[in-house]
């Protein structure tokens, strides 16, 4: 979990790079973006279609903890549930959490970041104060405390808690970027021309924030999926649905490794890592769009 927190901070710091998005040239032929997108698409398809094709993930059977075989391609859990079916449903659950948190984080950070920075004055002060307070209050302990408060932890609640504790870093980045955009000549020109605030935000500012916002969106998906897994592991994850996190927690509670049931424990962890890697690669490509200096094309050959 510490890595998640570190990243949050690192992301906040990167916001100080006040480089405009500039002319955006999409590099579809980039291997990083292609690999990342490929991984993500395959996993999303698995989450979407898998549950339709696999067995009932909750069907118990007297054959517990059987290794992968023809009937159960990824073996069974301790109660004879099909691991592949659980994985398919778990993928759906984890992706749902990721996307929900991503969307909520996006909304919150855009709202507080853009509006505050654009309007300025006392509103900006208040929004910054709120953002900074949320940013410094330690997230995981807060999640534990809120998580143990709510009786039935639905997948939506877990997503809500993750979004509530995770939006501030993004808001700070967005605010910094908006501040630099606000004073650009073309924005000032439209203001002078008497355009409405909403119109300026939507037409002039938002498009230029797209790379920052999408990078934040992708980052919060990874943050949410890892966060949910961590919460599930300490016993306060979503208890009404299957996710990779709840699968890992079940496998751990069932002492899967000790009893030799590696297939049960390894599969969800592997998928989390692969998806995270895919998203990180996409994010890397977005970073290169935001910050043209990062583009490999600009790297000059060196003698050393």
């Amino acid at each position: 979990m510490s890595s998640v927190l570190n990243d949050t901070m690192a992301a906040a710091e990167e916001g100080s790079i006040e480089e405009a998005a500039g002319p955006r040239r999409r590099r579809w032929r980039e291997p990083k973006l292609l690999t990342g997108a490929g991984i993500v698409i395959v996993i999303v398809l698995f989450g979407l279609l898998g549950p339709l094709l696999t067995q009932d993930p909750y069907a118990v059977d007297n054959i517990g903890m059987t290794p992968p075989s023809g009937d159960h391609l990824l073996g069974t859990t301790q109660t004879g549930e099909d691991v592949l079916a659980q994985l398919a449903h778990g993928t759906r659950g984890s992706l749902l959490i990721g996307v929900m948190v991503g969307a909520m984080t996006l909304g919150l950070s855009a709202f507080f970041g853009i509006l505050g920075a654009f309007v300025g004055g006392i509103l900006d002060e208040l929004f910054s104060l709120l953002t900074n307070i949320v940013l410094v209050i330690p997230g995981l302990p807060l999640m534990i405390v809120i998580g143990s408060y709510v009786e039935q932890k639905s997948i939506f609640l877990v997503a809500g808690v993750l979004a509530l504790t995770g939006w501030a870093a993004g808001a700070r980045v967005v605010r910094a970027q908006t501040l630099s955009l606000r004073d650009r000549d073309y924005v000032l020109a439209t203001r002078v021309a008497g355009e409405s605030t909403w119109r300026i935000i939507c037409v002039e500012i938002l498009p230029n924030l797209l790379p920052v916002l999408s990078s934040g969106f992708v980052f919060s998906i990874v943050f949410a999926i890892l966060g949910e897994a961590g919460l599930a592991f300490i016993g306060i994850g979503a208890s009404d649905s299957l996710t990779w996190g709840t699968m890992l927690a079940d496998a751990q509670n069932g002492q899967a490794l000790l009893l030799g049931g590696w297939w049960w424990f390894v599969a969800p962890g592997f998928l989390i890592a692969i998806l995270g890697c895919g998203l990180a690669l996409i994010n890397f490509s977005i970073d290169e769009i935001i910050n043209p200096k990062l583009r490999p094309a600009r790297a000059r050959k060196r003698s050393s």
Partner: protein
């Protein structure tokens, strides 16, 4: 003015944390008496009078109004009185926290430092060598960064501690042969018990530093002054270290200072996996026992640590970068 504004902000943040800290545990369902009765019930029947007697013992009187509880909570805090832990009754919360903090500080502190140094070093190198084969570490670190921490920890424990026996299984030190203290035997034992947890923290958190530093390095390398230094024919290593890396590392250093604040939060999950006797362990125990006082104390200590390190970073920036004073 800058200083005052910053102080005002931190005071506001502190108040918000303190109030949140007060409210959340009180909204939790159940109460510590029920949890205690549950433990007693496993050993024998519990008489109807037990609840009254335990409520009296623990002083968990819920009939007081929320406001008067808030006032006495604040005045208690001002006196450094965090109340009594129910889990470790009758030990005061300050004792429980006091004995857990050094473990977390050392384990997570040292591994955060290691991850930072290694990550920034490797990141600087990777940035310098951009466009070469070294770029292939990007997907590798991205993968490492995305592995769930506890998953990695459990797999490492399974292979290196359970199967190969290279590391101790769990705990903070060898309780059978040494006693905590300033003896070489104890320190040696604590180091050997801390190695595997530290390795897992380093492995799973190094990626963030590495990628951040690499990106900063790549940006810096195309800055004019670095290009000039290179054009002047300075030795490449000197350019890399003195010109590029030094400047590129600034944001990482700030990030490091802030993450030091989070050290106190501990790697809650780490401590759970390794049965490590630190703050995170205490936090989980407090939650499962509805130990409000302990939960609040821990949350407060964690928040203060984060606030203080943020304040220090802000002050530091205010000192070295005059722009921050006017801009923000």
């Amino acid at each position: 003015m800058y200083l005052l504004r910053k102080l005002a902000f931190y005071l506001a943040a502190f108040w918000a944390a303190v109030t949140l800290n007060f409210l959340i545990p009180r909204l939790l369902p159940g109460n510590p008496v029920d949890i205690l009765i549950g433990k007693l019930a496993q050993q024998g029947p519990v008489a109807p009078g037990t609840r009254d007697s335990l409520e009296m013992l623990l002083g968990s009187d819920t009939s007081e109004s929320l406001w008067s509880q808030y006032v006495s909570y604040l005045s208690g805090l001002a006196k450094g009185d965090f109340g009594t832990s129910v889990t470790y009754f009758p030990a005061p919360v300050t004792d429980v926290i006091g004995q857990a903090i050094p473990w977390t500080l050392l384990l997570v502190g040292i591994s955060t430092l290691l991850a930072f140094l290694l990550g920034v070093g490797l990141g600087a190198f990777a940035g310098w060598k951009r466009g070469t084969w070294v770029d292939s570490i990007i997907p590798a670190t991205a993968l490492l960064q995305s592995v769930p921490y506890f998953w990695l920890a459990l797999v490492l424990v399974y292979f290196f501690a359970v199967n190969l026996g290279w590391f101790p299984l769990s705990g903070g030190y060898d309780v059978n042969s040494v006693r905590p203290g300033w003896s070489w035997e104890f320190i040696e034992s604590a180091i050997s018990y801390g190695t595997l947890p530290a390795i897992t923290i380093v492995v799973s958190s190094i990626g963030g530093w590495l990628l951040g530093m690499r990106n900063m390095m790549v940006s810096t390398l195309s800055d004019d002054y670095v290009v000039t230094a290179e054009a002047k024919g300075l030795h490449p290593v000197r350019v890399m270290i003195t010109y590029a890396a030094r400047n590129a590392a600034l944001p990482s250093v700030a990030g490091f200072a802030i993450s030091l604040g989070f050290v106190v939060a501990g790697s809650i999950v780490t401590e759970q996996v390794f049965s490590y006797p630190g703050i995170g362990n205490a936090m989980l125990l407090a939650v499962s026992n509805n130990d409000y006082a302990l939960m609040q104390g821990l949350f407060l200590v964690i928040t203060i640590a984060v606030l203080v390190s943020n304040l220090l970073v802000d002050l530091f920036y205010g000192l070295i970068d005059p722009r921050t004073r006017t801009r923000n």
